[in-house]
Subunit: 420 residues, 2 copies
DNA sequence: CCTATTCGTAAGGGCAGAAAACAAATTAAT
DNA sequence: ATTAATTTGTTTTCTGCCCTTACGAATAGG
């Protein structure tokens, strides 16, 4: 995005509200804001240094000072604090061939605080630990027919998996400080509560309360976490729309590098975008919703793929690869419907990119052509670059990765919270 | 929106980037942020005090301190600076009947710095001056067939109108510090430039360069300014969608109390949302766009209103009021199409409200029923309150008012910029 | 070996808000 | 009427943070 003011003059200030990685507001929290204090200043600058080191690889204090606008003295003080907290590591003098005393390279620690991501899917459970660099250090998934279990039982099993992952992390010198669980359902107003997860059979499940583990737990929709994983692991733009199909068709919106969750946290419902207003009736009561044409069930039905055990997406991709005409036709039709709906979203939001993620990522080869065609035909007011529609490299791993990275990002955005 | 962390603990800090009232980003400006300085702290707290006084009417220093979390001493210092700058006025001791020494009431000054709003419509020019309280103090409009004139000539006439308004303002003790002009067209990447205003016949017009006036001038799309006027003058929510039809059908998105302009500043195009994908061809090349059913031209055609001189919207409202069946039918159909398109937007964005503004506001009585019906039918995933769809009280006055208020908000968000 | 350059640190200063103390103005009680 | 209690606004002292300036340390080049 832009800043029309030349600005840059007086170093302004800080960040509006932190810890808004998940379910975060975009500003204005009812109150007109909180007073700026020197502690807040320190917080901001700690995060600034941390972020610079994280983004620009091993760098010297002087380089950090140059890039942030802080003085070397200030950076030294901030780095000292981050070193003491175990968030940064000093790699020692690194001669770079240039004249002058070589700087001491700083890097984000690969030990110490970490993020624990969890996933409760319909047919599996997952756990993942990432270090502060964002690297995946532990990754576990087990099959589990969660829809047939009570929520508490699912969470008990997930907690066991989390304990296992935490043990493995401990051997690597990593200490998860918080956990985030990805669920295929709506996470609305009440924090830590799943409003509605039809595929799991969950309704108003107070996950945070039922959680037997000791780490603080937050819940988030898996589509949103998949989008954030894309943002954090493979950043292509700060403003994009991430489309994925798990339960329904979700469009996570990333605005200015932050997840946009709407007034009640329910933004991103793309599945019921009208595509053929007079078309087939949808379970939502309306007619011609996108889900009726591009939803998982609709695609399988049109493709004639029924009663396949195991991974239906893989089966679909396999048949498409073999040239199964009916499957190709179904995917082409789904792509057209997706493209039509996305065209509306693109016209409305003007994102820098559209990312096809989740299960759709694996079908990208067959969905992209018709999506691109429809987008090109319908996004004409502005110039639309066909390459702005891309396929996620993370696919179905996105949500679990995003869940772990969410905690890491929280630490990076407020390092002082760890030890103060 | 929400903040799931209890937070509130250590007073955090400041605001990310100021002067982002128009064309503002939502954070992350490429650089990872600028360092927090003591000047930035002061800036933030000045704005905090200013905002508190502006929002809560005449209040004492102690009340400001209580509401903001600053100490009384700090508030005193900040208020002194704002008084010296002429942004606040001391109304003197005001006994409120409670025990203790009465506080001295502070109010936003009704003299001094002000905002100048300008409007270049298809058939008229407008100028408006608002004081820091947001009150309209000068309001002038003249007819002018701008589409038949060269942009430079339009701006020359507008400048004369602006000078006139500035003179009137001076008599009231008001001194406009910046001007914003509302235009019915796309304002894209280049600041101060209108990319495309079909109804004016403008293409890539460098308005800021052509401007003969002396005040700094910024350009913004009139639909966006209308939405901001709604936000600032009649705040109903911090997250809403504002629909208006001037040239095309624009949906300005307000997210967290800020205008969302998309990656390239082109967000908000609702006119080409697919409503009947196989329907009548649209000028954009696609088929069945909303504009073909709810655009001004489409409504007039369906309503059988042709060749009416003067204000076609007023004519339409008059005939609808008389019970003209064809007009009623046209408006009902337009409302249905609008509702369908908005349902998609609501599902996608989960706004707290939808506001019908601009010319549509005057037709609200006939558009609302079918819009509400369609929204209720299509927004079913979440609960949808029919009253969340409201009609703007500003109507076509919105853009001009918003243009003037934009400057006022800029001052309120960074008072120090005026004298530093 | 000496100089120029760059890096990291240390000392002094300025600035902003916090904390505490104080004077002023009002209400309530004596 | 007088005194006590309470709230307000200011003053003073203190702390914390970053900036400026200065200095030792370490390297490359002459």
């Amino acid at each position: 995005m832009r800043d029309t003011t030349g600005a840059g003059g007086t170093g302004p200030a800080c960040d509006q509200d932190r810890s808004t990685i998940l379910r975060g507001s975009s500003g204005q929290e009812g109150a007109r804001g909180r007073p700026a204090s020197q502690q807040g200043m320190r917080q901001h600058n700690l995060a600034l240094v941390m972020g610079t080191v994280a983004a620009d690889g091993p760098v010297s204090r002087a380089a950090v000072a140059g890039r942030t606008g802080l003085t070397r003295a200030a950076v030294s003080s901030l780095v000292d604090e981050l070193l003491a907290g175990g968030l940064l590591t000093e790699l020692g003098p690194a001669s770079n061939g240039r004249v002058g005393r070589p700087g001491s390279a700083l890097a984000v620690s690969e030990r110490g605080p970490a993020g624990l991501g969890l996933e409760a899917g319909v047919g599996h459970l997952g756990a993942c630990v990432t270090d502060l660099r964002g690297e995946v250090r532990v990754w576990t998934q087990v099959e589990s027919a969660n829809a047939a279990l009570a929520p508490a039982e699912v969470l008990a099993r997930l907690s066991a998996l989390a304990d296992d992952a935490t043990r493995q992390a401990a051997e690597l010198g990593l200490r998860p400080v918080a956990a985030v669980v990805a669920v295929p359902g709506l996470v609305g107003d009440v924090p830590g509560t799943v409003d509605h997860a039809p595929n799991l059979g969950w309704h108003d499940v107070p996950v945070a309360s039922l959680w037997p583990g000791e780490l603080p737990l937050r819940v988030e929709n898996e589509a949103n976490l998949g989008a954030l994983a894309e943002l954090w692991a493979h950043p292509v733009a700060a403003d994009f729309v991430h489309v994925s199909a798990e339960s329904g068709i979700g469009a996570a919106l990333v605005v200015g590098g932050r997840l946009f969750s709407g007034a009640r946290g329910l933004a991103g419902e793309l599945g019921h975008m009208p595509v053929h207003p007079e078309g087939s009736p949808c379970s939502c009561g309306a007619r011609g919703c996108l889900e009726q044409y591009a939803g998982k069930a609709a695609v399988l039905r049109t493709a004639g793929v029924t009663g396949v055990g195991g991974d239906v997406i893989e089966a679909l991709a396999a048949r498409a690869g073999q040239g199964d005409a009916r499957v190709l036709e179904a995917l082409e039709q789904a792509g057209t419907a997706l493209g039509t709906a996305l065209a509306g979203a693109v016209n409305l939001l003007d994102p820098a990119a559209v990312v096809l993620g989740g299960a759709y990522a694996e079908l990208g080869a067959w969905l992209l052509p018709s999506m691109r065609r429809e987008l090109a035909a319908r996004v004409t007011v502005r110039s639309w670059d066909p390459d702005a529609l891309t396929v996620s490299q993370l696919g179905r791993r996105g949500p679990l990765l995003g869940a772990a990275l969410a905690t890491v990002r929280t630490i990076l955005e407020d390092p002082a919270a760890l030890w103060s």
